[in-house]
Amino acid sequence: LPGQFVAARDRSGCVKGGNDLAKKQDIEKNEAKLPDQTAVSRRDFFKTGAAAGVGAAVLSVPGEATAQSAQDIQWDYEADVVVCGGGASGLICAIRARDAGLSVIIVDQNFDAGGKMLHSGGQTSLGGGDPLQLRDIAGDSDPEGFITVPPIHTPEELTDDIERLFIEWTDWSVIDAAAQAPYRYNEREIQRAMAENAPAARQLMMDNYVRFARIRGSNPNSGISRARQAGPFLKLGDTTDIKAGTITREDAGTLLVSASHFAPIPLNDTSDVAGPDTVGAGACMARCLEFSAREKGVQFIFNRHMDEIIREQPLSGRVIGIRGSYSPRQDPDTGAQLTSLWSNGNIEETRETITVRANKGVMVGTGGHSGNPQFRSMFYPAMREPAFPASTWAVLGPRGQDASGIIAGIRVGATLSGMQQNPGIPITYHIPQRLATRDAYSGELPGHPTFSSRKSTGIALLGTNSYEHLIAVNQVGKRFYNEINLTKRVGLSWFPGGPTSGTPKSGLEHVPLDWRNCEPGWVRQMYDRYSGVDAALAMNEGSTAPDYYSGPLWAIFDSAAVERDGWNIDPPFTSLENGYFFVADTIEELAAQIEKGHEFQRVPLTHLVETVEKWNAAAAAGTDEEFGRGEDAPMHAIDTPPFYAASIMVVWHDSYGGLRTNGKSQVLDMVGEVIPGLYAGGEATGSGNQHGLARAHVTGYIAGTNLAQEA
């Protein structure tokens, strides 16, 4: 039957066991005689991607499978489409392919579906006249009538078309407030395809239980003349019922109190963009898509890290499957294995290594490289520092965002693109305003199984001004920058744009492709830039060869600061167990505690006592000769015990740059030829530099469409 799963075939082509579920096969004997021919040299070549230090991504380098003749491989599972990664790109691709009648297996290194989308804000900028824009132009509600607020934008601001979208996504003249032109490097063929498929991708999500609130603004780098961004929501109710669009308060979580397995970050009040008793965040989208995929028969192999893409020949022929290794995660406190929220459609598989055959193709939706310090250091060598994580680190685990899909693609001949786009937007590596947790990008709360990995939500500061209450020091205990400016980022290019975002005219007034948008006089007028993250990553007395790691960063403050700015430093916002928050009676003891208790504190904070004394003298004098504090915000002495140290994190969030693909989401090789049977989407690709989820959604959608057309 079209769309039914077929059992794995034996080497004669006969179907073994014939029901609608993929079957395991005994491969132990086969694996035992795997020859190791070219594997060594290939492995050695690519092991530069291996992890360095605790907490870094661990790359699997099996190397054996391609050494084996492809036709000799005995497959453990088989499907028309094998999707690597069940996140924003992979889920959409899987649904699209499944809708076309293909059997689909999603392989994911984590224990649950959703990827980064699960803990994201869920904001999705599409456009081009997509169904939401048309809905809001008409002033309509959603099918259930949950949306009761009127459209936020005027019909003119929502009137869009594919041509406009394509032009805006490739508009060289648009700059941000740091005078960088983010759209200039976008691959034109891909952007054209994304523009053409944006409305359909939105429709697919809406057809698969995703309810979008009113359109509000746009995501950065998603065009600036029209409003295109909307986030998902659900209605609070007595049951969590994806079909009905309702969710219980327990599953939705409560702000500052608790999260849930459904949503690692409590869903936010969306009454301003939807209606009363509605809540939203990325989990509303991720869970709805996952629910629909399961309902349609997509199967999931969790706890399975894709190590290798298998091609007929190492660098030629079709891609015919993947090899994956077992990657279970345990609760660090109880040792219990983490399991997915839902289990229908799960294939439980615990063997160390398995192979999955893909009859039509493999789709790489493994996410980006933000969790791989070696890989990301290609863009910024200082970010080889393993002390700094990828956003979503706790939810995705230590192997999340480890560039595995990109590396596996390279190993079968793929080339890269868009690599220069990482430095072009300050949502890649930046300093969030959240202290005292490794996963500083988001405010995960107890309730999700991964909270025990982070143990603290973090102290959410109230803005850049909250930094007036602390000093920021490096690994040797020295200040390095004006704290007030430490987390500041330039205004990004997003609707409605305008002067604070780097463009002279806002929204409807913006003229695409106009040289005046970036003429030097305008740049001089609006230019703005902060270097806090660069100063934070600078070498210091504790940096040593060969990597000269800058080490962790610490916010040092006293109990008066906590009182003055109203910070909640109690659990679960902080933890005295995870090494990211310390309290002491004296500064000397604080320094000793940090050195002893933090996993990446390699050297003593020799200068901390002197730094605090110096700071207190500066506060008493009313001027900070070192870094200019006191001019822009008050200074406060750090003298009231107890004293605190909370981690300041540089977090790598978005990944730009990855596998080079074409307008069909097919992966290309070094000479621009398609690698047959290999597709990729989202942050595993260099498809563009739109922030938010849409790039992943659309490229996944395109991949699903074209996989269905594979012979």
């Binding site: 804000g121 904001q123 603004g217 961004q229 936010n268 990004l492 004296t586 822009d632 002495a637 922030h691």
Partner: protein
């Protein structure tokens, strides 16, 4: 029982590390013993005896094999002596034979230094500007490096000329939120001359029982002219025109927080000031004001911009 052995002497490599090498009197030290047996020697029953300078046994620990011929005992806890200075213990390696006899195979010295407990002083809640001659208060606290109870100990304050200007007794309870910071509140009169005065808070050493070193901390007493003007600052949200509570007001060296009504009052001397008004989530306001008489200043603060629209749904 340890007996002489008639077997051929075996050369063991026996090392002992002490941590920390310098320790507070009476505090805990940790010894790690490591023994490397000669190749081919099948030895599995070793222990170590730690003895003081008089030969009295302080601790005994079994060594466990970690690989091949390497044995360790890595968490031998001992209390350091109370007398300050260099100390030497002796670690003796004992081999236990299968026949039940034992012999001392090797020994090594364990050297470490004992020091008096250090005093870490702190002064806080001292006004940033004190009118000449005015009475003021401050808090002073002390933490012993070993966390000893300090209740009842005397603190003294001296001015820049070394004249004692105040004293206090550490209270029974520790400062809230601390594990062993003993404190007291002290009161005194500011000097009559305007300017920064270097004062010092001191605690004397004592040697009865556990030795404690003397401690001292210098701090500034900032004396200003008596204020003759009153500055009222109103902090408001520029958009909603609603008051901003707990906004920080600084007219160096004067400072205050606004109340529920968004208003703070500062008593200052006439002159020119840079007025900083800062509220959580707002861009701080900076303006220069000239104070010649009582005045009211209105500070309208603008909310910090959203730089990432995705933050609509993240927090």
């Amino acid at each position: 029982m340890v007996a002489d052995s008639d077997k051929t002497p075996v050369h063991y490599t026996f090392t002992v590390e002490v941590s920390p090498p310098e320790v507070d009197a009476g505090a805990e030290i940790v010894l790690e013993c490591r023994v490397a047996c000669p190749p081919g020697l099948d030895q599995s029953d070793l222990s170590v005896s730690i003895r003081d300078v008089d030969g009295a046994e302080l601790a005994v620990a079994e060594l466990r094999q970690i690989d091949g011929g390497t044995f360790i005992a890595n968490e031998i806890l001992l209390k350091a002596p109370l007398s300050v200075g260099e100390h030497i213990f002796r670690a003796v390696l004992i081999v236990h034979e299968e026949d039940g006899t034992s012999y001392e195979a090797s020994s090594t010295e364990v050297a470490f230094a004992v020091k008096a407990h250090a005093m870490r002083l702190n002064v806080w809640a001292l006004p940033t500007a004190i009118a000449a001659g005015d009475r003021f208060t401050l808090k002073a606290g002390i933490k012993c490096s070993a966390g000893c109870k300090l209740a009842g100990k005397e603190l003294s304050i001296f001015d820049g000329d070394g004249i004692q200007v105040g004293c206090g007794t550490l209270l029974d309870e520790v400062w809230p939120g601390t594990s062993a910071l003993y404190f007291t509140e002290m009161e005194g009169n500011a000097p009559l001359t305007v300017g920064k005065h270097k004062w010092e808070v001191r605690i004397s050493a004592w040697g009865s029982g556990t030795p404690h070193a003397a401690g001292a901390l210098t701090f500034d007493v900032n004396v200003v002219d008596p204020p003759d003007c009153e500055v009222t600052v109103e902090a408001l949200d520029a958009g909603t025109q609603t008051p901003i509570e707990r906004a920080r007001i600084v007219m160096h060296p004067y400072r205050a927080l606004t109340g529920e009504n968004g208003v703070a009052t500062l008593k200052v001397s006439k002159g020119n000031y840079k007025l900083l008004v800062s509220g959580s989530k707002y861009i701080a306001s900076t303006k220069t004001i000239e104070v010649k008489d009582d005045i009211t200043v209105r500070a309208e603060l603008t909310l910090e911009p959203i730089v990432d629209p995705a933050s609509y749904y993240t927090f």
